[in-house]
């Protein structure tokens, strides 16, 4: 590690960040990602995180095909996995979408929010598998998702309340004119900031979790670099670090569900606020 500790930090960040040169699955096995495919100057050749997106796409389509199978009478889900999928879908319906959008709209919006939740959950979980990467820790990904949510709730609000009615309804009614001059920009700006917060929250949580994981894994190397003592590093520090890593991995498993839930819940909240203005 010729760059010293700052080089180590860079090394860690490169493991968490997206990668355009290769997918290093584990030492010795790597898939090169060194092609280039540009459209209007934008590099569209799949990076490591894009590969994770495509993997999530394939996994979700394949697994959910199994996950929606029903028993012979169509009354109950068939198998444990299908039961689990149904439980999650019912949770999304009854605890995320319905409270914010109301029962009737919930039925219409459920495919969107279920897709959102399962997509984020799948990407978070893929990121926890050693050798795979967390696309949800990429700000480009979270920003795109947040921008999509921003467009979705504004369009939904305009469709529901009319374009003029919606933008007038963004500002609370019955506010004196002078205050309106202050409040209107704040409210409009708030629409953007709450979407931006969505992106930053997911990115920061996932990236931070993975930095912690990689830092713990690298603890032995750090000790060896600082003290030049291989016995201490391999005999004491590294085993302890692995125990801690497993513990944090367990915490990250919880965070994977939690952040998918939080993102979906807040999106539902925003859509609900845009559709049912004044509530």
């Amino acid at each position: 590690m010729e760059g010293g500790l700052s080089g180590l930090g860079e090394f860690l960040l490169h493991h968490v960040a997206d990668n355009r040169s290769a997918w290093r699955i584990f030492p010795g096995v790597e898939i090169p990602l060194d092609g280039s495919f540009r459209v209007a100057g934008v590099e569209l050749y799949p990076s490591l995180h894009v590969l994770m997106l495509l993997l999530a796409l394939v996994l979700l389509v394949a697994l959910l095909r199994v996950g929606v199978r029903r028993g012979p009478d169509g009354f109950l889900p068939r198998g444990r996995f299908a039961s689990a999928v149904e439980a999650v879908v019912l949770f999304v319906r009854d605890d995320i979408v319905a409270p914010n959008l109301g029962r009737e709209l919930a039925r219409k919006w459920l495919p969107f929010f279920c897709t959102l939740f399962f997509f984020l959950l799948a990407l978070n979980l893929i990121g926890l598998v050693p050798g795979f990467a967390a696309a949800t820790g990429n700000p480009n990904f979270t920003a795109a998702m947040a921008a999509m949510v921003f467009v979705v709730f504004n369009v939904a609000g305009m469709v529901r309340n009319g374009p003029v009615g919606y933008w007038l309804g963004v500002v609370p009614k019955g506010v004196p004119l002078p205050i309106l001059f202050i409040l209107a920009p704040i409210e409009l700006f708030g629409l953007v900031t709450k979407s931006a917060a969505l992106a930053i929250r997911l990115f920061a949580n996932m990236a931070a979790g993975h930095i912690v994981l990689f830092s713990l894994i690298a603890l032995g190397a750090v000790v060896e670099f600082l003290f030049g003592n291989a016995a201490l590093s391999l005999g004491v520090v590294q085993p302890a670090a692995i125990v801690f890593t497993v513990a944090i991995e367990g915490l990250e498993l919880f965070v994977a569900f939690l952040q998918a839930y939080v993102f979906t819940l807040l999106s539902a909240l925003f859509v609900g606020a845009a559709v049912h203005q004044g509530h």
Binding site: E10, L13, H14, V16, A17, D18, V42, E43, L44, Y45, P46, S47, H49, V50, L53, L54, A56, L57, L60, V61, L64, R65, G67, V68, R70, G74, F75, L76, V85, E86, V89, L90, R107, L110, P111, F112, C114, T115, L116, F118, F119, A135, G137, N138, P139, N140, F141, A143, A144, M145, A147, M148, A207
Partner: protein, 167 residues
């Protein structure tokens, strides 16, 4: 910011994100959420109708039970009425029979008393006539002959014997 690999701007990833999400939304809506939500809705509907049916049957049972109780009560009341009526009539006819029996007994007693009375009167009448006749006869005998005490007693004895012989 440009130095941090975590914060690299990469529009390609953003575009891929939106494309993949759009594909997922369309495909999953068709292959997963559509069938699943239809099945859940059908089940909810079936549960609701089953519960409504159960509620309807319960109400029906309750109504039938009420009807049964009412009929039972009415039947018992009618039976009670019939028994009470029969008892009243029986008591009435018993009283009538008793009264008639008492009347008849009284009539019989009255008749017997009357008969006894008339017989007694007739006997007294006859006795009086006989005594008078005997007195008249005795007086005429006394007047017709002189008698000593001995003959006089014989006469009276003879007369009593005569009376007794006559009855």
């Amino acid at each position: 910011m440009s130095g941090n690999p975590l914060l690299q701007l990469d529009p390609g990833v953003a575009i891929w994100t939106l494309v993949v999400f759009a594909i997922l939304l369309v495909v999953l809506k068709k292959t997963a959420w559509g069938p699943l939500l239809r099945a859940i809705d059908a089940r909810d509907e079936r549960l609701r109708s089953a519960m409504e049916e159960a509620e309807r049957v319960r109400a029906e049972n309750e109504r039938a039970a009420g009807e049964r109780d009412r009929l039972m009560r009415e039947t018992l009341q009618r039976a009670d009425a019939i028994v009470a009526d029969a008892r009243t009539r029986a008591e009435e006819s018993a009283r009538a029979i008793e009264r008639r029996a008492r009347d008849e007994r009284r009539e019989m007693i009255d008749g017997a008393e009357k008969a006894v009375e008339s017989m007694r009167r007739a006997a007294r009448e006859e006795l009086r006539t006989k005594v008078a006749d005997a007195t008249v006869e005795l007086a005429s005998k006394l007047l017709r002959r002189e008698l000593d005490r001995e003959s006089g007693r014989r006469v009276v004895d003879g007369m009593i014997d005569e009376l007794e012989a006559k009855g």
